[in-house]
């Protein structure tokens, strides 16, 4: 009986907590739809969504990483490197010297290869962090430089343009990921975001693996004593983050129909901000995908909204900074509220 009401309370508090960012989002939407005439049109919102897709997907991988108590600064560089790999494969194919042949892969193959490489790059982060006990911040700071260097070295700094592919080589259709889906006006990127979000959400809350991720973030030692393979969980989490980054690299490259080695520079900060705005705690153990996606939308709406209002670059920086801090402060308040409610609940049934 009492149990019921209490769990009720908790659900309420949880939804409040999740709702929090959502409320901020609504407020922003209302504000900008007043400030910029065409902001509240289907088209404009789809455009926002399209931009959100990029760091939204990054933020989902980042959420997993932060939940385990880590951080991944290398995602931006993986985006750049993945883009260059995909672009290179389409434009130059893969030349095997010893056989004197050049292989051209179909676009799906290119995507798969790129995604796998991205995952591997992530796995390297995970291994450096778990096996060599390097602090995540430092490990991924290092790989951030390294991957970025490689992205540039791939083409010696040049851009791979005209990624439309050639009929003859059977590798056309790469623009797909940057365009809208068939008849619908929905950008493919947004759909990918949706798919990844759903899968990641279920994985986190509905599968043993998700539990293990949360447990590692909550109490690593205890997780180990419970027989959870902490290192393996962490490596998977960074692998996933690398995979997400590669996907983003593909979408971004496809949007521009050209691959530029500097793509993704500093995007990691957007991703982290989105995750934290979504209620993920830097201390680890706490976070949910839904919140992260909403957080990503908050950032997206601010960016595009301000641009459409003609706010200058400099003020945009200031406002972005303020929003991040304020949102987290609100989050703090809500957390305390929730803790109180939980206590209340507990004492009721004493």
């Amino acid at each position: 009986m009492a149990a019921k009401t209490k769990s009720g309370n908790n659900q309420l508090a949880m939804t409040l907590l999740k709702g929090r960012t959502f409320i901020v989002l609504i407020v922003l939407l209302i504000f900008f739809s007043v400030a910029a005439d065409n902001f509240l049109t289907a088209n404009a919102l789809l455009t926002v969504a399209k931009h959100v897709a990029l760091y939204g997907i990054l933020a989902i991988g980042m959420t997993y990483v932060i939940i385990t108590g880590g951080i991944d600064l290398s995602v931006g560089s993986v985006v750049g490197l993945a883009g260059m790999i995909a672009g290179g494969l389409i434009q130059q194919g893969l030349t095997l010297k010893m056989f004197g042949v050049t292989l051209y892969f179909s676009v799906p193959m290119v995507v798969i290869i790129t995604a796998i490489i991205g995952a591997l790059l992530g796995a390297i982060n995970g291994i450096v962090i778990t096996k060599f006990k390097v602090a995540p911040f430092i490990a991924t700071l290092g790989t951030m430089y390294i991957w970025r260097g490689f992205a540039n070295l791939r083409s010696d700094g040049a851009t791979f343009s005209e990624l439309a592919g050639k009929e003859g080589l059977g590798n056309t259709g790469f623009e797909f990921f940057g365009r809208n889906l068939g008849g619908t006006g929905i950008p493919v990127g947004v759909i990918i975001l949706a798919i990844i979000a759903v899968i990641a959400g279920i994985l986190l809350k509905k599968t043993p693996f998700g539990w293990h991720v949360l447990s590692v973030g909550g109490n690593e030692k205890a997780a180990g004593l419970s027989g959870i393979k902490v290192d393996r969980v962490k490596i998977w989490v960074y692998t996933f983050s690398g995979f997400c980054s590669a996907i983003v690299g593909i979408i971004a490259t496809s949007q521009l129909v050209s691959a530029h080695p500097a793509t993704g520079d500093t995007w990691e900060m957007n991703a982290i901000a989105a995750a934290v705005l979504g209620g993920t705690s830097m201390a680890g153990g706490v976070g949910n995908i839904g919140g992260t996606v909403v957080g990503a939308f908050v950032i997206g709406v601010i960016n595009d909204g301000m641009t459409m209002c003609g706010v200058t670059e400099f003020w945009q920086k200031v406002i972005r900074g303020l929003v991040i801090i304020l949102a987290v402060i609100i989050d703090q308040v809500q957390r305390n509220m929730q803790a109180k409610m939980a206590l209340q609940a507990r004492n009721e049934n004493k």
Binding site: F39, A44, G157, A158, T159, A252, L256, H260, P261, T307
Partner: protein, 319 residues
Amino acid sequence: STEGDASAETTQAAEETTEETAEEAEVLPGGGSNIIYVITPSVSNPAFKTEADTATAKAEELGYEVKAASHDDDPTKQTELFDNAIADKAAAIICDNAGADATVEAVRKAREAGIPTFLIDREINEEGVAISQIVANNYQGAKAIAEKWVEAMGEKGKYAELLGKESDTNAGVRSSAFHEVIDQYPDLEMVAQQTANWEKTEAYEKMEAIIQANPDLDGVICGNDTMLEGVCAALAAHDMTLPVIGVDGSDEAAALIKSGQATGTALQQFALIAEMAVEQADQYLKEGTTGQEEKQLVDCIAITADNVDNLQTFVYTEK
């Protein structure tokens, strides 16, 4: 070579002015080694890559050892690179600088160390410090291409402007040149002005947002070609083709002009400029003079569908 001819023209242009200028005061011997430092912005931009590569090639051809480095548009890093050059007893420095004001001090320090500096592409706000300032005439170039754009616009319509890094001189120069032309036509109305920091993805996203705010947009002007690429990609994504111009003359831009997605760009003859700089450095080190004015303007060439075929990796060859 045809490039030679091109340089010949401009040098003639310069010589006419040289007559009334006095000889260089004291001659800088160089640092001692025969190393030439080539300092440019990040070579992940094709323009600067061409610049760096041509300069390197030419200098090595003339028997110098070359050390190329990038300052990433960070004036502090640039001074550090100048310091390295000085410590390395460089014979000369070729530099595409990171800020008209922020560079003066670095060049002066090199001068004090007896190392001559030859500035390329962008000028600095002081004369008599560098030996040569071989400057791409952004102003003239931007105006020239703006004229073409106005034609393409039919002298009327709503347009948006994407600016380069606000803290970069060229961003300002190009923008004001654009407006000097465009503002003469009252029917051309600027409905949005945003900076995209010379950057492609940023240009793409900003452009999409601007399109949403102004669905009835008629044209776009961009501070450089990287942003032009982003803009064209954004327009393509919305099945739009508008008159779009940029500045630089990159092959990517050329491709877009060919395909009719972009109207034009102002070619800065990076290769030519770099080569001139190295030649003058060599001559100066050997003879104590470049035989040129310090400030030499190399005109930009307005590239449109008509003459785009003559453009190849920043080299313009009359066919």
